[in-house]
């Protein structure tokens, strides 16, 4: 396993299954009276967030605290970054304070890669979402949730078809999921209006469709993506009403799914745009569970990257 987690593509098949297996054991902690383990006592995890986030930051914070790490939260707002400090200087400040891991959320795609490979700092770098690039821990928690519901918590995701619907262009969740689903043997199906698919998407290891109704009966999982208005500087579709009529998941489309299929959403949801409230709250929607699983998946990543003298070697993870 690599020392940093920058991209979902950094994980081999065995690495990914090991993270999921580890997360299964760590998820059980949530049911105990004492939700705390001494494993990372004395280690410092810095949440370095240059972009707004609720669930990812809280999830990483909860994960680190359950493993007894010390957590320092850093939000760019109200910090020296607003005075013009560079990523390099901020990172070197954290290094001087003795951070063992930096969890980085940044609006610039590639910032975690830069931090991990620049030699500025010696700590482990975990990508918590960079621009429109990747969000690997989200892909891991999504894979964990799919495996729990459809594969009985064991092995990989081979044979599953997963529809990823909506704003693929701006979605780091979609990129990381496409990579990880391929690694784990599942087939991603991207469904979006042509304007919301990135250039070169035909080279991705995924099927592509513009017609949601024809895809839904063939999939085991449907993952709705948020329409990211804040990243849209141009008109990608005529109106949100038209978008939801073509690509929104409503009760009628939900009925097209096979009986075992589950509905996922990385959050935050735009209720009434990409998903209707009755589908988001139905019993086959695992959206709230995804949040709980996020803590377990991030605990697994923190444990595997920080718990030992180095990440597990392939021999050990076999």
């Amino acid at each position: 396993m690599k020392r940093h987690l920058v991209s979902a593509g950094d994980l081999t098949h065995d690495d990914a299954v090991l993270v999921l297996d580890t997360a299964v054991q760590l998820a059980a902690i949530a049911d105990r009276p004492v939700k705390k383990l001494p494993t990372l006592r004395g280690r410092t995890v810095v949440n370095l967030f240059f972009e707004d986030s609720t669930r990812t930051r809280i999830s990483f914070e909860a994960a680190a605290k359950r493993l007894s790490a010390d957590v320092i939260n850093f939000a760019a707002k109200g910090s020296s970054v607003s005075k013009g400090e560079s990523l390099k200087d901020t990172a070197m400040t954290l290094e001087a304070m003795g951070a063992d891991a930096v969890v980085l959320r940044h609006h610039a795609s590639g910032a975690p890669y830069q931090l991990a490979n620049s030699g500025w700092i010696s700590s482990v770098v975990i990508n918590a979402g960079d621009g429109t690039h990747e969000h690997p821990t989200q892909a891991l928690l999504d894979a964990f949730t799919m495996r729990r519901h459809l594969k009985n918590d064991t092995g990989d995701l081979s044979g599953l078809r997963v529809a990823i619907v909506g704003d693929v262009l701006h979605s780091r969740v979609a990129r990381s999921n496409v990579l990880l689903l391929n690694t784990l043997g599942a087939t991603p199906v991207l469904v979006a209006p042509p304007t919301l698919l990135p250039v070169g998407v035909e080279s991705w290891p995924a099927e592509i469709s513009y017609d949601l109704d024809s895809v839904l009966p063939t999939v085991d999982v449907v993952m709705m993506l948020r329409v990211q208005q804040e990243r849209m500087q141009a008109a990608f579709f005529p109106s949100s009403a038209e978008y939801s009529r073509r690509y929104g998941l409503d009760r009628r489309r939900f009925e097209l799914l096979p009986d075992h299929a589950i509905v996922m959403h990385p959050g935050p949801m735009n209720r009434g745009v990409e998903i209707t409230a009755d589908v988001a709250d139905c019993d086959r929607s695992v959206i709230v569970e995804q949040v709980a699983n996020g803590v377990a998946a991030r605990m697994a990543v923190l444990y595997l990257l920080l718990g030992g003298s180095q990440p597990p070697t392939s021999e050990e993870s076999a």
């Binding site: 383990l37 001494p38 494993t39 595997l304 718990g307 030992g308």
Partner: protein
């Protein structure tokens, strides 16, 4: 738990001295039967839960529970405990995969927990197990049963039930094989007791 490479105990395949069998399958069976009877006698009808320490403590706990169940005419609950996250030597090695921790339905609050492991050596595994146990509940009493006690304690810990006391040198390594994990039942001792092989 039976090997500590940092001590420099030779790896079995490189050892100049062949592995010697110190307990056969029958010896293991007899030792477990005796321990089951001792547990029955010492716990005096208390609410006993057997908790195996992963990996090989788990099949041992299951076997002991079956024997104790025969003696007491009831089903003895069994749990399994993975102590990886509580180890004090985690940072000396690459991160290790985790194994399941499961407790019997009724939990362990107010019960007599007998921890079960294959080899008692430094006592550090048992220390970690006691920590792990305290996060899962509050047993009335905790006892320890081991198949082999090889000495060389580094912590003030002793076993309540011992299958076999095995005086060893730090250069030797004890290997327990159990049918459920290794396909066969045996305890072997290998390595160079006097250090003349170096």
């Amino acid at each position: 738990m039976s090997e500590r490479p940092e001590i420099g105990g030779p790896v079995e395949s490189e050892a100049p001295f062949a592995a010697r069998t110190v307990m056969s399958a029958d010896d293991i069976r007899r030792a477990l039967s005796r321990i089951a009877h001792e547990i029955d006698e010492r716990t005096k009808g208390a609410d006993v839960v057997l908790v195996g320490i992963a990996t090989r403590g788990v099949p041992l706990a299951t076997r002991l529970a079956a024997k104790l169940g025969e003696v007491q005419g009831r089903t003895v609950p069994v749990g399994e405990l993975d102590i990886t996250l509580h180890r004090d030597d985690l940072r000396l090695k690459p991160a290790r995969p985790l194994l399941p921790t499961r407790l019997p339905e009724g939990g362990i609050d107010g019960t007599t927990v007998v921890l079960v492991d294959d080899v008692l050596f430094s006592g550090r595994t048992v220390r970690a197990a006691l920590d792990a146990l305290s996060e899962l509940g509050r047993p009335q009493v905790v006892q320890l049963a081991v198949l082999v006690d090889r000495g060389h304690r580094e912590l003030p810990i002793r076993a309540d039930y011992v299958g076999k006391n095995l005086p060893t040198s730090l250069r030797e390594s004890v290997r327990v094989r159990l049918a459920e994990v290794d396909g066969t039942d045996s305890v072997t001792l290998s390595g160079d007791p006097a250090g003349v092989g170096e």
